[in-house]
Symmetry: C2
Subunit: 407 residues, 2 copies
């Protein structure tokens, strides 16, 4: 597997476009489209929030129907959640506008939204955007990058990645983009993410690979504990790489899954480190837990704790808060088995050993915690399973951004 | 039932004291003691965090043993959590110092701590404090008030209350004090709270009443989602009111439970509104839910959401965040049945009706949300059960307080 340039347009046959639809933002792009003329096998994972946005319902229907997918249209101004029938009609109007322009059935076009909940989308602006973008689709890497910028809300950086790998002598490309950066909490995928690949693979296996990879990537991040109404992760595979179609869980499947894991992990880490107001990536690495699920729950509890996040912001090695968050996670363990370490590119520092706090050099600990990624390593000494979760620090800016998000 | 003056010393036979033990704070009191010469029937509820402080283990043992309780000694500097055997020995030394001074068995003296996790208590300062306080116990109301101040950490106001009620022709008094104000999240009681009464009641019924009342009071508040290692709520009943001892669930029991509910509700609301950095009390009132537990979970999910809390701080009627928090709570419901209202002393405003956002006057909504207590009323239209939860807004000051709590 190799990193390559670009994002959603890196794989063969995928085009993208963006435009200024003026849905919420002014003077910036706020709609994006990804399109494959070749029909795509598709898979998706969606929010577990039972208050689902209209677009989530729309996309779920396509993914579950077994139909192919030709593309996805995204707006970053209004979430289209809690909008009743009018919201569903907006999805329909968007997809119909694409059908008219691109000559593919409307029910093969996914839609995704992010932004304010409880407001209706301006359908005329949406459909004008679709027409504009349909006419300007490009297969260039730059078009993919522009799309990744158009879907940003409070994100400070765009997030895209592409990799290549070999399957049955053919080079396959997998690319993707995603956006955060508030209302982010692991319970499915908690974000918008769009992956494209020219791999040939059966739908069932594509879905299985995606669901499995999500568990240890997007589902292991948290910005603020709020599981969004709009979380959507879609993957489209158009088969243009010409590889022998993957139809069983063989070595080719594993090669693909590994690439998929790296792409999702990259985007998930990017989303965590670019959480609203964040200044740091805050990683919890749990080792030697009794079960994999225990390890995941412990790691997620630590990076989700407001007090732990505030300590990370303050570069304060206040390790008791991390133990406290482990203690209320629901996982059973004995604190007398636990060792805790802070680590970063500036070194490491052990702070707790088998139930007893250790004396440590506060100055060194502050130095370690001042780096861009701070890792808390937790050795449970109870088994052999491990997991990693990614979050960010809690800062003044998080409050500032969210105290008046609508205006 | 009538409100009366004072707190933990309002009931007959309870004395209190406080002192400057210099455990963490300088120039303020940081230890308190509550004492009854008459042995007390006792009950308690404790943190559900499996990382329990040494003092929690100590108190649980007393409550569960069936022994009487004579008093409790509190320090507000160091939590005595994650401190191994040395931490347990500190509890023992504290209780033994009280035994020596007050001629009651050491194993009838409860201890409670709040403050930094993972630091050892200075035993010499603790025992000096116990000696000092044992010599200055007073049954005055002022002594109770001073005790309620000595247990504060980041609290900005002390929290105490007392009520009287009639049982079999005798006036019974019930008083209490508590402290918040960070690491507060409902999962048992999440705080330190001490209640005293001169009621005569059987231990089993005292515990049942306490456990039941906690469910709808202290367990319905949240400041930051972090369930502490130290949460302790104790009640001591010395029987000096001379009422006919309550030994069954009769009308007297109900009268007492009602008083207990009011006292706990008062303290819980005080703790929520004085949450770290809080400027407002944020109340969620869920009506007509299918089950009582559904109502509780929905109300708690709303007041625990970082995004909802930030919206409350910003006086922003961004009701979608509240619906989102209901949606990920785990309770199943149909958003098309739901109505949402914001209300306060400045009026009320309906924002969502049966799945559809309503147009509303933003200026009026901001006015409503600028009051000291902001209520979100949620009518589920699914059943007959209701619940109320109390939280606070998320502010810059929460981050400030917690980014550097130790220093």
């Amino acid at each position: 597997m190799k990193r390559t340039e670009g994002g959603v347009t890196a794989a063969k046959g995928f085009a993208a476009a963006d435009c200024e639809a003026n849905i919420k933002y002014k003077d910036r792009t706020d709609m994006a489209m990804v399109f494959s003329k070749e029909p795509c096998v598709c898979a998706g994972t969606f929010t577990s929030n039972i208050v689902k946005a209209a677009c989530v319902m729309w996309d779920k229907e396509i993914v579950e129907s077994g139909r192919c997918m030709h593309g996805v249209i995204v707006n970053s101004g209004i979430a289209n959640a809690c909008t009743g029938k009018e919201g569903y009609d907006a999805c329909m109007a968007t997809a119909k506008a694409a059908e008219e322009m691109l000559s593919v059935p409307y029910d093969t076009i996914a839609v995704a939204s992010t932004g304010v909940i409880g407001m209706q989308l301006p359908v005329d602006k949406l459909t004008a955007g679709v027409k504009n973008m349909s006419a300007s689709l490009e297969e260039t890497l730059d078009a993919g990058t522009r799309a990744s910028k158009a879907i940003m809300t409070t994100d400070t950086v765009n997030k895209e990645i592409a990799v290549t790998f070999e399957i049955s002598g053919k080079t396959v490309t997998l690319g993707g983009m995603s956006k955060g950066s508030g209302m982010i909490h692991p319970n499915m995928c908690t974000m918008l993410g769009f992956l494209t690949t020219d791999l040939a693979i059966e739908k069932k296996l594509l879905q299985e690979a995606l669901s499995e990879v999500v568990t240890d990537t997007f589902n292991m991040i948290s910005v603020d504990g709020d599981t969004s109404t709009n979380d959507t992760l879609l993957i489209m595979a158009n088969g243009l790489a010409g590889n022998q179609k993957i139809s069983e869980k063989n070595a080719d499947y594993e090669t693909f899954k590994e690439a998929l894991f790296e792409v999702c992990r990259f985007l998930a880490r990017k989303m965590a480190s670019d959480g609203e107001g964040a200044t740091k990536l805050f990683t919890a690495h749990v080792l030697n837990a009794r079960t994999k699920e225990d390890a995941r729950i412990l790691a997620r509890s630590v990076i989700s704790s407001s007090l732990s996040k505030a300590a990370i912001y303050g570069c304060d090695a206040n390790f008791g808060r991390f133990l406290c968050a482990m203690g209320y996670s629901g996982v059973s363990f004995d604190q007398n088995d636990v060792e805790l370490f802070f680590e970063s590119s500036a070194g490491e520092c052990k702070v707790f050993e088998y139930g007893v706090p250790l004396p440590f050099d506060e100055e060194q600990a502050t130095k370690i915690m001042s780096e861009e990624e701070v890792i808390i390593r937790i050795d449970m000494h109870e088994g052999k399973e491990e997991a990693t979760a990614w979050g960010c620090d809690l800062t003044y800016d998080y409050v500032k951004i969210n105290a008046d998000y609508r205006s």
